[in-house]
Amino acid sequence: MLHIVKFQQVTKYFGQQEALKNIDLTFHKGETTVILGPSGSGKSTLLRCINLLEKPEKGTISVGDIKIDLSKPVSKKDTLAIRQRTAMVFQSFNLFPHMKVLENVIEGRLTVLKETRIDAVEKGQLLLEKVGLSQKIDSYPAQLSGGQQQRVAIARALAMEPQFLLFDEPTSALDPELEGEVLKVLKDLSEEEKSMIIVTHNLNFAREVADRILFLEHGEIVFDGATAQFFEKNDNARIQSFIQSMQFI
């Protein structure tokens, strides 16, 4: 099956403001891409366009075998198909508070994939083990630390076996002590060659896991290339000052 995310001349407006300007871009299978850029540059918007939480006005977006012409209304069927090929992890976790940890993880398999409960539970237990939370299966999200909640959210995303995993600042809401445990999980996933697109402000982490860096500014891609090239051999003054300013945070 085709395993790709492709943007062709994608433009997204918020009112008058162009949040993404004519973006051409392809994400490949097995690659970890980190998206960097100053606040308001369009990182979240780009990520949220992939699974159509935002609908751009122009261009085409392909996810796997689904291709969408954004100048026309998007059918529900295509929207759902795209969302089944992707999974998203949010800055604020967004776990379902009324469901226990295991129920959170298997919800998509039960409701969306219509899997039997027995199979879904088995899958859910394995994933919770993978993120180190086997002990917390019967807890409610409110009983967990932020880092634990985010690991549950990652397990929930993995449970859907998506082609692409999308992360929007997955550790920005966490204290530094808790950040590490989530980054560790992300690193493991990256090493398993999962296809991941990560928005983050953590440059050290980007440097460590990214195969590829995208640098956005004012809704445009200013840099798209290998990680080493971004950090070491970059002659773009804007990027150099960005790297410098981030290192003090």
Binding site: N51, L53, K76, L80, R83, Q84, T86, A87, M88, F90, S92, N94, L95, F96, P97, H98, M99, E107, G108, T111, V112, Y140, P141, A142, A153, R156, M160
Partner: protein
């Protein structure tokens, strides 16, 4: 035994009986219908369909914006002029379910809107349809959030049913009026009515507390 004591004792059962055969059944039936109306109205008013939002918005506007006694009179005394004659029970059920439905729809709508947008986004990004999101993620949280205000709407309804005395239904209040007319003991009899209402509503408040505790076990 004093005369007042005797009157009070003799009046308890007739008033209570009116409560059991009119006030309580009317409240329960009207509330059950009101809940259905309220859920449909709340969903219509958060939907993407402008016409639907407008129609249900006008319904809520009218029923919240006019006194329930006036609504009751229009349905019971007014509708016959337009060829629709309803018995007192039917008129009362229609009026109270639509009136409480309007209020409860606002309670439910506000509760749905209080749920963080991230809940919708997380569910949608799993690939759930609109109805799946509503059923699996939004509804359970809405029930918890709206419980206190919807119970309030129910309590208002129970008390509001005392108005059916004016359209010939023999509820607790009507029976109280009849006994007062016979005995000239308004303070005694109406206080007795008040106490019985208070007992009914205290039971509701107790149930609300239990339900809230149950619905909040995950917070």
């Amino acid at each position: 035994m004093s005369r007042e004591m005797q009157i009070a004792l003799d009046s308890i059962w007739p008033i209570l009986k009116a409560g059991l055969i009119v006030t309580i059944p009317l409240s329960l039936i009207a509330f059950a219908i009101a809940l259905v109306v309220a859920v449909i109205t709340a969903l219509a008013r958060i939907s993407n369909y402008k016409i639907l939002r407008a129609i249900f918005g006008i319904y809520v506007w009218i029923f919240r914006g006019t006194p329930v006694l006036v609504q009751l009179f229009i349905v019971f005394f007014g509708f016959p002029k337009a060829g629709i004659t309803l018995d007192a029970w039917t008129a009362a059920i229609i009026t109270f379910s639509l009136n409480t439905g309007a209020y409860a729809s606002e309670s439910i709508r506000a509760s749905i809107l209080a749920i963080p947008k991230g809940q919708w986004e997380a569910a949608e990004s799993l690939g759930m349809t609109y109805w799946q999101v509503l059923r699996r993620v939004i509804a359970p949280q809405t029930i918890r959030i709206s419980l206190p205000s919807v119970t309030n709407d129910f309590i208002d309804l129970v008390k509001g049913t005392s108005l059916v005395a004016s359209i010939t239904l023999a509820d607790m209040f009507m029976v109280g009026q009849q006994i007062t007319a016979r005995t000239y003991e308004p303070l005694l009899i109406y206080s007795l009515c008040a106490v019985i209402y208070l007992i009914f509503i205290s039971v509701l408040m107790y149930l609300q507390g239990r339900l809230e505790k149950y619905a909040s076990k995950y917070v």
